[in-house]
């Protein structure tokens, strides 16, 4: 018991800072134009997703390329709970996590018989099968292309029994009829789960179980030669990270009651992988940072149209202004993909280990400057040189 609740001082500080950063999002995101409810909800939700993915990938080294399947399963489970049972998010989330966990158990049980890229392709195959079927023949359950949505004539047994909800308007997910789950309250609802999820991950990273997973990552063969069966451990990690994905999917449905098949497509799985690597695999905070960065690009960079740019650069002389707008418009608006691609290439080339590596280097630089003068500066030069 002791090992679960005793945290190192460093962990406590990290946790407190992380919680503060998440809870203060509505303030510090203002200058970045990102402090509106939907994007902050997405930040929290995709943070949970990336943290969960990192438990599998960061600790065991197993690269799942089908994690979006659990996200989708969680969403479908949550929306069906809304439709059939109640608009309260709690049962929906419980159900989402359970369904995603069972789904992960089944897929993980089969896929973990193989390792390396064979494992990746197995998870990819399962996810793509889920997506293709959800989009087409499973339409009676998933509503295919148009997505699973709430309807006025849904039974909602529990709500009906307690006489909640109106007969005219579509209901909004709410906590015991008190707090509606859209807007800022929805964000805080998600943020609390992100913080809890972060805490649990921190504990897993520091626990013997986490050490075991790391040992499996560093040399699975040696582990199995000693007669040690690694599979229960990897499967546990797989299911836990699937449940995180299910929770994220459930929260997506809570804040916005729609579940679409595209959530399961390989591109969605790939996005999770990219978030994690971009931020820093195996670090606690890295995946969250990666998730925020990608979602920020997707939502904010894509919104800069030429009109906005013209206003932005209006202070420049006309000829230069036109040129600057033309060049920048290649990278924002409809060109936001290009910027994202460039960021991937640059970050991974110059910062192996992702954004967290960059952070570490900067911290190193400052600390060494504190140490002394001449010696430290040569060291930090070496540290910033591109790794090859």
């Amino acid at each position: 018991m002791n090992s679960i609740f005793s945290m190192s001082r460093k962990d406590v500080i990290t946790f407190l800072i992380f919680s503060a950063v998440v809870l203060l999002m509505p303030i510090w995101l203002q200058p970045f134009g990102a402090a509106y409810p939907d994007l902050m909800q997405k930040f929290a939700i995709f943070g949970i997703l990336a943290i969960g993915f990192n438990i599998l990938f960061g600790l065991t080294g197993y690269l799942s390329f089908g994690h979006a399947a659990f996200l989708g399963a969680g969403s479908y489970a949550a929306v069906w709970t809304f439709k059939l049972f109640s608009m309260n998010p709690i049962p929906a989330l419980i159900f989402a996590v359970i369904i995603a966990g069972l789904f992960a158990l089944a897929i993980g049980y089969v896929s973990l018989r193989r390792s390396g890229i064979y494992f990746s392709i197995l998870t990819l195959a399962f996810a793509q099968m889920s997506y293709n079927l959800a989009y087409s023949v499973l339409t009676p359950v998933t509503y295919g292309e148009t997505g699973l949505q709430l309807a006025l004539d849904d039974p909602r047994i529990a709500d009906a029994a307690f006489g909640g909800g109106s007969d005219v308007a579509l209901p909004v997910s709410n906590l015991f009829g008190m707090v509606n789950m859209n807007g800022i309250p929805g964000f805080y609802f998600c943020a609390i789960f992100l913080i809890i999820g972060f805490f649990i991950t921190q504990r897993i990273f520091a626990s013997p179980f986490g050490m075991m997973l790391r040992a499996i990552k560093s040399n699975q063969n040696r582990m199995s030669y000693t007669g040690f069966n690694t599979r229960p451990y990897t499967l546990t990690a797989f299911v836990i990270s699937g449940m995180y994905a299910g929770l994220a999917g459930g929260l997506m449905a809570v804040t916005d009651p729609l579940a679409g098949a595209e959530r399961m497509q390989w591109t969605a799985s790939g996005e999770i992988v990219l978030m994690t690597i971009l931020g820093g695999v195996g670090t606690l905070i890295g995946p969250v940072v990666g998730a925020w960065l990608i979602k920020y690009f997707e939502n904010i960079f894509s919104s800069f149209n030429e009109n906005v740019l013209h206003n932005l650069f209006a202070f420049l002389p006309e000829g230069i202004e036109k040129f600057v707008v033309e060049v920048t418009s290649m990278f924002v608006g409809e060109g936001w993909h290009l910027t994202l691609g460039l960021v991937f290439v640059l970050v991974v080339t110059f910062l192996p280990g992702g954004m967290m590596e960059g952070y570490r280097r900067i911290v190193d630089m400052f600390q060494k400057k504190d140490d002394g003068d001449g010696k430290a500066s040569t060291k930090s030069d070496a540290a910033t040189a591109p790794a090859e």
Binding site: I13, L16, I17, A20, V21, L23, L24, P26, I27, W28, G33, A35, Y36, P37, D38, L39, K42, Y135, V137, T139, G144, E145, T146, G147, Q149, A151, L152, D153, V168, A169, L170, V172, N182, G183, I184, P185, Y188, M252, D256, L258, G260, E262, F297, E298, N299, S302, S303, N305, N307, V308, G333, E334, W336, H337, M355, G358, Y359, I362, V363, F366
Partner: protein, 447 residues
């Protein structure tokens, strides 16, 4: 992008966090009070009114989205009294004065739907929550239209759909806050049927290849109903995966099926690929049952026709609008669009332009931006001079009823834009249907 991440020492971060915590309790109340202090969301208070244009900018429909955006920019220009005014001059009745909407200058924000429901909803939410958009419009697929429309219902924001052809948009998934000017799969079937009978006779066996998702199914069903009513038989209807790329495995069975017509219920790239490949299999040179084999593409667009190249020649289909129409409204629109961009508008551009103008006009007639009143002004509104003859926004399902064009791939194009010829302008009466046949429920005015 990493401005914040190059954080200073831990102590500084801690200090900042402590300072932030003090304000944390205050912040949410500030944000929520500004959202609920109004009588409706995003009520314009300054001298501008912001519209949100949500179009695909990445992904397979990016070109269509770019054309939609061009149309919106033109519409904004015209509404603000710049340019030659376009359809503002031909619209009947019109309350637009070229001084913005209700005297407020029109501003706009844009977003990328990526042709994905989640992304489209996220960017619509961004425009509503952050940019203060009063109305959302655009899109290039029914999945997106249905998803954004239901979001807008929840948010109490009017949604003027762009290109969406599924029966569901104004059928089982219709919403009080959603409006569609574009035609739908049922109308395609009803318009094409009689023309097909004229051209190919009433004794035909049709083979359907259908994109395996909601739109494809409604399209197939509508075409089946229309052709079977003429006396055609349906040899087979096969579902194909979306984005299959190579359709050869679905086309070969057509060869010996005894069918003499192939109906491709595909759109976008699927349609470009399946049509190209079907022609390569020599289907159009075949004789079956003593008749020439024919291919029909129920939903056509010029951009798709471009992708299919020569394979489109002589093929029948339907469209919402074509730039070669000779009526006054279409001509005015083509003239100002062509003068500004050097190319004629696509049908997606047309429907988006018209939707923007119709919304603005409804606000003027309602005398307010209050969505409930604007909705009431749009419901049952009859207008003319916008390209498809006399048109009505039916109150029961928010679907526009107007003439539908049956077109044929042009055998001798005079320019790269001259790809489709209008065969017949099918009158509105022939494509009308009872609003109740597709079910659905509009929902309440007040949300």
């Amino acid at each position: 992008m990493s401005e914040r991440k190059d954080g200073p020492s831990r102590r500084k971060v801690l200090k900042g966090a402590a300072a932030g915590l003090v304000t944390a309790g205050v912040a949410p109340t500030i944000l929520t009070s500004s959202a609920f202090g109004q009588e409706y969301r995003n009520k314009p208070t300054g001298d501008t009114v912001t519209l949100g244009f949500n179009v695909p900018q990445t992904g397979p429909y990016a070109d269509e989205g770019a054309d939609e955006l061009r149309a919106y920019e033109l519409a904004v220009e015209h509404l603000n009294g710049e340019g030659d005014g376009g359809m503002l001059n031909t619209m009947q009745p019109s309350n637009l004065k070229g001084n913005g909407i209700l005297g407020k200058k029109v501003a706009y924000v844009t977003g990328d739907t990526q042709t994905k429901s989640d992304a489209a909803r996220a960017s619509a939410k961004r425009m509503i929550e952050k940019d203060g958009a009063l109305m959302i419009t655009g899109g290039s697929s029914s999945g997106v239209a249905v998803a954004v429309q239901s979001l807008c219902q929840e948010m109490g924001t009017i949604f003027m759909a762009g290109l969406t052809h599924s029966n569901d948009t104004t059928g089982k998934d219709k919403r009080r806050y959603g409006f569609r000017h574009f035609f739908n799969a049922y109308m395609s079937g009803a318009a094409l049927g009689p023309v097909l009978a004229d051209e190919y006779g009433t004794e035909r066996r049709a083979y359907h290849l259908t994109a395996d998702y909601n739109w494809g199914w409604t399209q197939e069903e509508s075409m089946k109903n229309a052709t079977e009513a003429l006396g055609w038989q349906t040899a087979e209807a096969v579902k194909t995966p979306v984005g299959a790329g190579d359709f050869s495995q679905y086309i070969t069975p057509v060869l010996n099926s005894g069918a003499d017509v192939l109906i491709l219920n595909h759109y976008g790239r699927d349609m470009v690929n399946s049509l190209t490949q079907a022609v390569q299999f020599g289907l159009r040179d075949k004789q079956v049952n003593g008749k020439d084999f024919q291919i029909v593409v129920p939903l056509f667009s010029r951009l798709m026709a471009q992708g299919a190249g020569d394979n489109i020649k002589g093929i029948l289909g339907s469209t919402n609008w074509n730039w070669k129409l000779q009526d006054e409204g279409s001509q005015a629109f083509v003239k100002s669009f062509g003068a500004k961009y050097g190319a004629p508008p696509s049908m997606a551009a047309h429907t988006c332009y018209v939707q923007a103008l119709l919304y603005a006009d409804a606000c003027e007639r309602a005398g307010t931006f209050y969505p409930v009143e604007v909705i009431k002004a749009l419901e049952g509104h009859k207008f003319d001079g916008m390209g498809n003859g006399p048109t009505e926004y039916r109150a029961e399902d928010h679907q526009c009823f107007k003439d539908v064009l049956v077109v044929r791939g042009n055998d001798n194009p005079t320019s790269q834009f001259d790809l489709l010829n209008v065969v017949q302008q099918v009158p509105r009466s022939q494509v009308e249907y009872d609003a109740s046949i597709f079910g659905g429920d509009l929902g309440p005015y007040e949300v």
